[in-house]
Subunit: 230 residues, 3 copies
């Protein structure tokens, strides 16, 4: 299957790329582990949620593009990094929660890195530009959705009362797709796409940007009066 | 992998087939978007739930049979149709809910189309008849299950207090498998299978057909007294 | 893809292997069906939960290693066995619940069988030893996690107030990986790995072994005072 892989110019040196991946995996794993602690899971539950959050998005992407076995199962570092995050949170979680702001900043960085890397990998495996951007978005947000599903919560990606999360990833993925379309993908432009998504997410958190709910929802009806399901 | 694809007679002209697919995707997307509005999700949550409901079943089928990348990521129309449904529900959801009956009728049509198309595609990729019918059923109901899981609800497919949903799809898929078995699959018979599943679902909604619960559940014990989990 | 399959010595005769697989599938299906009855699902909900619990772990493994179509869709016995479990639970569930101890013992046997078989199959398809053990663990516990997600419960795998479930499977999978590493995998050693996982799980249930929660959770704060999510 790898014969179909389109060769894009190498964006970063392999070791730089790998380091960036591991950083993204680590911060996503921290967010999964912290939710597990809040849900009162045991140490194995923490490890499972860390692994799923960190690797779930990329695993889904690799299954879709036929890159099997997925990177999550071929690169030992990908597998071990979430366990490191688990240990850290297990022993130091009050301290980690105290630096929640730092965790959020890293998570925003992970979002930017993953939406760009996911889009590029999907395109390399032959998907169209729109589909590549869509899969890049899925790579970036998929792990968090799986985390929330396993924790039996409504995915925070879907909730209106959370700061914008999908939009920065959509913008980052779309920028990469545009760069590919106009043959302008290089380390500089892709770094710019990462940074754009990263900064947008930081601004969304800082100013509590929210997305609108359906048109007639924004009425005077209070939350309590609204039936969850008829 | 596509070399193993068995060639069945072309059922419909490709453009007719594609149009039917898009209709099925559209109505499933509407059902996802409406649930998202009821759950008070923001516009991105609505779009995600519309996409997942419309494409989830076929995506799972394509991963199972090794048809990667799945049609959901290679056909731009498949990706854009749920976004159209999102816009419609976003701006007009009270009107859409008012025509809930029409939505249910379309959803029944989608169920019929997807169980038949799913069974045929699975057989073309080399599965046995029983497995093909099973995967056709999964194609038809999978998106709705994913929708409910993401919305943090018990899948309505599983609940005893919902009108029959799986049975019409099982019947449609089984009819197709029988037609293949006796070499009688053609546009007419497969259209009949679609219509049978469609009409059965309409009747189930009209007369509130329910499936039985486990034997000793149908006792005098009221719901409240039954422990959910020991 | 199957050309990459590494040939390990045949562990058991094919028919013995197949029988063991079916037993594991059957007992996992029973656990899914029983949860469905407790959740008050109808007969189709029971069947779906039985199928998902029994086949989900192996299906995920097969998708990851590229063994498509997965065994769940190529071996009719794999598909029919959960339906048999469904019938049994449907008509006899009070009796089945009364022998819950027996069901738990069989489930422990299924856990042992699946973690060992999953590790071996993953290695045969070219994964590294650590990844193979990880995927063996996933094979053993994945069905139960999917079962709980579909039933809209927090997966019992993750909960601190359940007896150890992951650890026996980890030990069994790790033993197999060690045997492969030191070229000592044969029917005897793999049977020992199955039995070790099986007995560990029985002991965990008998003595209510639990895994620790995060460090500062084990404080004097009562459950009620702990926020589930800030």
């Amino acid at each position: 299957m790898s014969k179909n892989v389109r060769v894009l110019q190498q964006l970063f040196s392999p070791s730089v790329q790998h380091t960036l991946d591991l950083i993204g995996i680590f911060v996503f794993a921290i967010s999964g582990a912290l939710l597990a602690v809040r849900k009162n899971f045991d140490v194995f539950g923490i490890a499972v949620l860390a692994e799923v959050t960190a690797l779930g998005g990329g695993l889904f992407r690799d299954l879709v593009i036929g890159a099997v076995p997925p990177a999550a199962f071929t690169d030992l570092g990908y597998f071990l990094t979430p366990l490191l995050a688990t240990l850290l949170v297990f022993f130091l979680h009050p301290q980690v929660e105290r630096i929640q702001v730092a965790v959020n900043v890293f998570d925003a960085a992970g979002l930017g890195l993953f939406c760009v890397a996911g889009t590029i990998k999907a395109y390399e495996y032959g998907l169209g530009l729109t589909a590549s951007a869509g899969l890049g978005l899925t790579t970036a947000v998929g792990g968090g959705v799986l985390r929330d599903v396993l924790a039996n919560e409504v995915p925070s990606l879907l909730r209106w009362d959370r700061d914008l999360y999908a939009v920065p990833a959509i913008v980052g993925a779309a920028l990469v797709a545009l760069c590919i379309r106009y043959d302008a993908l290089n380390p500089l432009t892709s770094a710019l796409a990462v940074i754009t998504a990263f900064v947008l997410r930081l601004l969304a958190m800082r100013f509590h940007w929210r997305a609108p709910r359906a048109w007639h929802r924004r009425s005077t009806v209070s939350e309590e009066e609204q039936p969850v399901l008829p």
